[in-house]
Amino acid sequence: MERTTMDLWVGIFAVAGAAALFGLALKVGNLTSSSVGETYTVTAAFENIGGLKPRAPVKSAGVVVGRVDNIQFDSKTFEANVTLKVDKRYPFPKDTFANIYTAGLLGEQYVGLEAGGDEQSLKDGDKISHTQDAVVLEKMISQFLYNKASESGDSKKAE
């Protein structure tokens, strides 16, 4: 079969399309940052995870060190079991704190890791015991109102 210029154009088209897809994956998408390679898995139990979603970032000191892999409800302890995948390059001490924060006032929620002082580091499959729940705005407001009400009640009594 002889080669024609048409074949050349089709070849160029296919290569350009594949290159565009590749460019999208690498330059636009998060393929480079999400497949950080080796990760280890740790779990953490939260009483309330707020709006945390799978694939939310795990940050420490503001740097993304991993991703939320899976969130499940434990019907024995009535807590949410969050599985985190953390990059193998970043070992964390055993007594690391896992907190759920919100990026900005109304932004997405992420897991913040605050390193403790333990000599030993977290291994694959370990559980983070120190956790802090997501801040639920309604709870805070109701608590604030309740406190205000009891304050004014106290001051009336004092009179």
């Binding site: 079969m1 048409m6 074949d7 154009w9 089709v10 160029i12 088209f13 296919a14 350009a16 399309g17 594949a18 565009a20 897809l21 460019g23 999208l24 994956a25 330059k27 636009v28 998408g29 998060n30 393929l31 480079t32 940052s33 999400s34 694939r55």
Partner: protein, 263 residues
């Protein structure tokens, strides 16, 4: 009075039954195309020829429109985003809207207009000039020889065109956002990378474009194959190709999106 009513009802019923009939024969046509695909792959140069005519020849219109769509998105997005002091998010806006929706959908609409009409007109004319019957006389299946190569050419071309559309659109958005408006270059790309997910956004966009490719090419082929062998019939079939493909693309887009967003 009753007679008129009966006539109207009869007309409606006739039209509905006709549509269902066409849908059924369209499905049978699709099945035949798949069955005869193996035969057409043995003469792969036919498919490559069709990729040249449907894919490569559509490149120019796809790339130019992608560039302008990207630039307009960046301009419009900047206009609103800067009110909230987050003009860096313009990269996310441009990339997500292109990769998820506009890339596959606009490519499919342009493809239906640029390549779909050509396919319908070509096959319709082949039928009118009895080339298809001649092939059958020579024991060459017109579906294997004419239809299947065009079908696979469309299915292969569409994802490639959609990927090129998205990439060029992002570049268009970049050109407006960074050198013209003056958004920070690093923030533009890093926010984009932080928010565009490979699996959820890019792969789903490719899946969409493959589905649109099947739908658009199949509609164009069937309309051509089914066209009444007259000049008027071919022209009507060409119009129907554009209308039906566009409707199918938009409807399928809604269905696919609702599957993909709800996870």
């Amino acid at each position: 009075m009753l007679k008129r009513l009966a006539e109207v009802l009869r007309g409606m019923g006739h039209r509905i039954i006709d549509r269902i009939w066409r849908l059924g024969s369209g499905a049978r046509f699709f099945l035949y195309t798949l069955i005869y695909s193996g035969e057409s792959f043995r003469r792969i140069h036919l498919t490559i020829r069709e990729i040249y005519f449907t894919g490569v020849m559509s490149l120019l219109i796809i790339l130019v429109s992608a560039f302008f769509v990207g630039m307009v998105l960046a301009l419009q997005g900047y206009n609103t985003l800067q009110k909230y002091g987050s003009s860096e998010a313009i990269g996310v806006l441009v990339a997500l809207s292109l990769v998820r929706e506009l890339g596959p959908v606009v490519t499919a609409l342009l493809f239906a207009g640029r390549a779909g009409t050509a396919i319908t007109a070509e096959i319709g004319l082949m039928k009118t000039t009895e080339q298809l019957s001649a092939m059958e006389m020579m024991a060459v299946s017109p579906i294997a020889r004419v239809v299947a190569p065009r079908f696979w050419a469309g299915v292969v071309s569409m994802p490639l065109l959609a990927a090129l559309f998205s990439m060029v659109g992002v570049l268009g958005g970049y050109i407006v956002a960074v050198p013209v408006i003056g958004v920070d270059n690093g923030a533009f790309w890093s926010q984009m990378q932080a928010n565009v997910d490979f699996q959820a956004d890019i792969v789903n966009g490719v899946i969409k474009s493959v589905v649109f490719g099947v739908a658009c090419t199949m509609i164009a082929l069937f309309e051509g194959f089914d066209a009444p062998p007259t000049a008027e019939g071919v022209s009507r079939a060409t119009t129907r190709t554009v209308v039906n493909s566009s409707l199918a693309v938009l409807g399928l887009d809604f269905i696919l999106t609702s599957f993909m967003i709800v996870t």
